[in-house]
Point group: C2
Chain length 450, copies 2
């Protein structure tokens, strides 16, 4: 059997638990483990307990030769680089015949590599993190069980969110950044969200996305809500649910978040198309998005008027809490879009403190028919972080990817090409091992009235 060696590209926010897992596994199995990152500081902090792990400081210029030289010396590559870099790495992996694993969405360009990867007996696993990742694996496990019993699935709704634990929640939005802030600020922009509900296609434009959130409840942590994700329809094929009448995926936020965020959307504050010039203070920027008024109304009054809300509406108070109306200088040398200015402010206000515990929530709602009866299964996942480094986000993104890497290293997978972990040979061992790390779904089975 070939002697394996594992290379991790990128040691950032979501790599902490993955590094811990693979460091320990590589030590036990006598496998070389190398981590490459642009920050020597990060490498040092995350590997100091593991003297046997090799580290490499790479240049932030995505130099082809740099990647070639490190990829070519290993047999399995994990990429936690920014998603737009995966393809470059994948092509190098193809050239040097290395396996590749990522936690990112499978791109169209990546799909094109399937035939060649398959012929070379390479595994290119994508979407092996949390969302996408654990969502696929846990959904497929239950869907396959229902189908094995002869059940017919009539509805599948699935929700996921990276949030803050109640004990660390000290702001009115119930939110702090545990993930890419830019993605949070731009969420839902671009094309309308698409899903199917009771046999009817639904398109939700940005202007409506945050207006009708779906209520969700999680025991021990409380009330949440969700707005529809970009494209729920494409998952029908992945999950072999092509004829399902209801299929919806959504993003979870604390109850009340959507209405408040929608105020920003309505005002146009989340616009990312227009670099804004001639502005110096937060208030000048914010007021530039309010209608003309000749009188001396307060910002609170103007907001209440344009948004048609009462002044004591919670969603308005959340908006004012951000401090967009402050008379201080924005302090930027670049010309930023409104979305970028908003992100700058939110990064101050929604910053996770070193001892804060984050929270990962996932909920699947399955409905199915079996022997002329209707059933529902609700499966909840609740994972809390330890602190701002060992986050629930890093744990739930990194561990499935780490376990998948071990499966590849141990030649447990006999399927080749470009894929996502919707097959039993992936999800069974990964979900089983995740349970040892307290990543466990709580299921509730009920019979529904027809």
């Amino acid at each position: 059997m070939q002697q394996q060696s594992i290379l991790l590209l990128g040691a950032g926010r979501s790599a902490t638990h993955l590094i811990d897992y693979i460091a320990q596994y590589s030590h036990k199995s006598n496998i070389t483990f190398t981590i490459a990152d642009i920050s020597q500081e990060t490498l040092q902090a995350k590997t100091q307990q593991y003297p046997w792990v090799k580290t490499l400081t790479i240049q932030p210029n995505n130099n082809e030769e740099q990647y070639e030289s490190i990829v070519s010396q290993n047999t399995i590559v994990i990429s936690l680089l920014p998603p737009q870099l995966h393809l470059q790495v994948a092509k190098i992996c193809l050239r040097y015949e290395k396996h590749l694993l990522t936690a990112s969405y499978l791109s169209e360009a990546m799909k094109q590599l399937h035939q060649e990867a398959k012929e070379k007996k390479l595994i290119f696993l994508n979407e092996a993190g949390l969302d996408p990742g654990i969502d696929h694996m846990s959904a497929m496990e239950t869907l396959d069980k229902i189908r094995a019993q002869g059940g017919k699935i009539t509805s599948f709704q699935s929700f996921c969110g990276g949030l803050i634990a109640p004990e660390s929640d000290n702001n009115p939005w119930g939110y702090k950044f545990t993930w890419n802030p830019r993605n949070v600020v731009l969420a839902g922009q671009g094309t309308p969200a698409q899903y199917i509900y009771q046999g009817k296609y639904k398109y939700v434009p940005y202007s409506q996305l945050f207006t009708n959130p779906i209520n969700l409840y999680f025991e021990t942590v409380g009330d949440y809500e969700a707005y529809p994700n970009r494209d729920s329809l494409s998952y029908r094929t992945h999950y072999q649910l092509d004829d399902i009448p209801t299929m919806l995926r959504g993003t979870i936020r604390k109850k009340g978040y959507c209405k408040a965020w929608n105020n920003l959307v309505r005002l146009g504050i989340t616009d990312d198309s227009l670099p804004i010039e001639n502005l110096s203070t937060w208030a000048e920027w914010f007021e530039a998005f309010l209608p003309n008024t000749d009188n001396n109304k307060s910002i609170e009054d103007k907001l209440a008027e344009v948004l048609q809300l009462s002044k004591d509406d919670e969603s308005l108070q959340k908006l004012l809490w951000i401090g967009l109306q402050e008379d201080e200088n924005i302090n930027t040398k670049e010309t930023l879009t409104s979305a970028q200015i908003l992100q700058k402010k939110l990064e101050q206000k929604w910053k996770i403190a070193p001892q804060d515990k984050d929270l990962v929530l996932m909920q699947h709602q399955f409905q199915y028919e079996l022997q002329n009866k209707k059933y529902q299964i609700t499966a909840n996942l609740i994972v809390k972080g330890e602190n701002a480094t060992h986050t629930a986000m890093s744990k739930t993104v990194g561990l499935p990817l780490a376990i998948a890497t071990k499966l590849v290293a141990e030649n447990k997978i006999q399927e080749y090409g470009v894929m996502i972990p919707i097959y039993k040979q992936w999800y069974e061992p990964i979900l089983a091992e995740l349970k040892h790390f307290d990543i466990i779904f709580q299921e509730k089975h009920t019979e529904l009235q027809k």
Copy 2:
């Protein structure tokens, strides 16, 4: 003096009056006039009274050699081709040293040709139609007059619209297509509108664009309203108004149009990003943009609920008049975006009838200070068309361009390079001659209370 010959590229909707004018002028002055278009039928219809005008049927493939061969044989080129083709024509004009005139917005790429055109003593005149065109010329005439008196301009608001005359207005929107339908459906999408009001910069996102229209009144035709145009700020430099506290340009619609159109915007019906599959009827498409409802509510009730309007609200009735809720097949073989489906429907409902008269409206509002007093000038332009071919739109776009062409043919312009008609040598003779065609601004001067 060089013997001139004039080439018109494009004989479509906005060319009718221009052809009439230049046909007569060329006959009188013994100048060759050639018209090239992809439709032989159009060429025949528009030139049958003018046997001395040459016509050329061109291929719709924008072949470089085709344009080269016809451009090279003339001295002055007028392009009424789609705007994206102007640059290709401009480069050929540069190569063969021909003058070029268009009614389209001056693009950044066109600006790059300035130095070379200037050195070759060529005139590349852009924005010489209605809007842009007459707006610049009439604005500059009044602004220059105020400045010549020593007045200080404090506010300039300018509005323009292509509409339908009251006597031909038989639909609740007060609108029919007299111009590119796609531009009407997509109006305001992309970046927020920008303007400055009482010294404060204002950004209006698409979600707010149609919510606060400005009321306008025109004697003899009635009440209208306007929403802000894309970028009012860039005009400050053109008009030498860099320090002006209020500068706003807007598009005119019949009173009530904006609120009704905003219903479509709020529902997401104007989305042009997502090609929609799996739909067959108008109703299926329309309902896909309404929220989930489990019950059997009528479309009218659902709309009233999601838009928070009463069922007898005029803006809701306008929406229903379009017939988006009809149970008939959309009948399209292509996969269209929602905006394209809407356009298809509106092209049926807002079609101008052969004997309909269209209406062009323009209003400038100037405010200035002179000898410690404040004044306002309101200048209104009202032009009605004769029928669906000799439209007010064709007249007001084509005649300024035609007169500008005559000025070039007669060597009246001694300024070279890429330009727009904001200089006296252009606007004075053009506005003077437009009066003979009843294109006349009515001015009202008032003193304002300080």
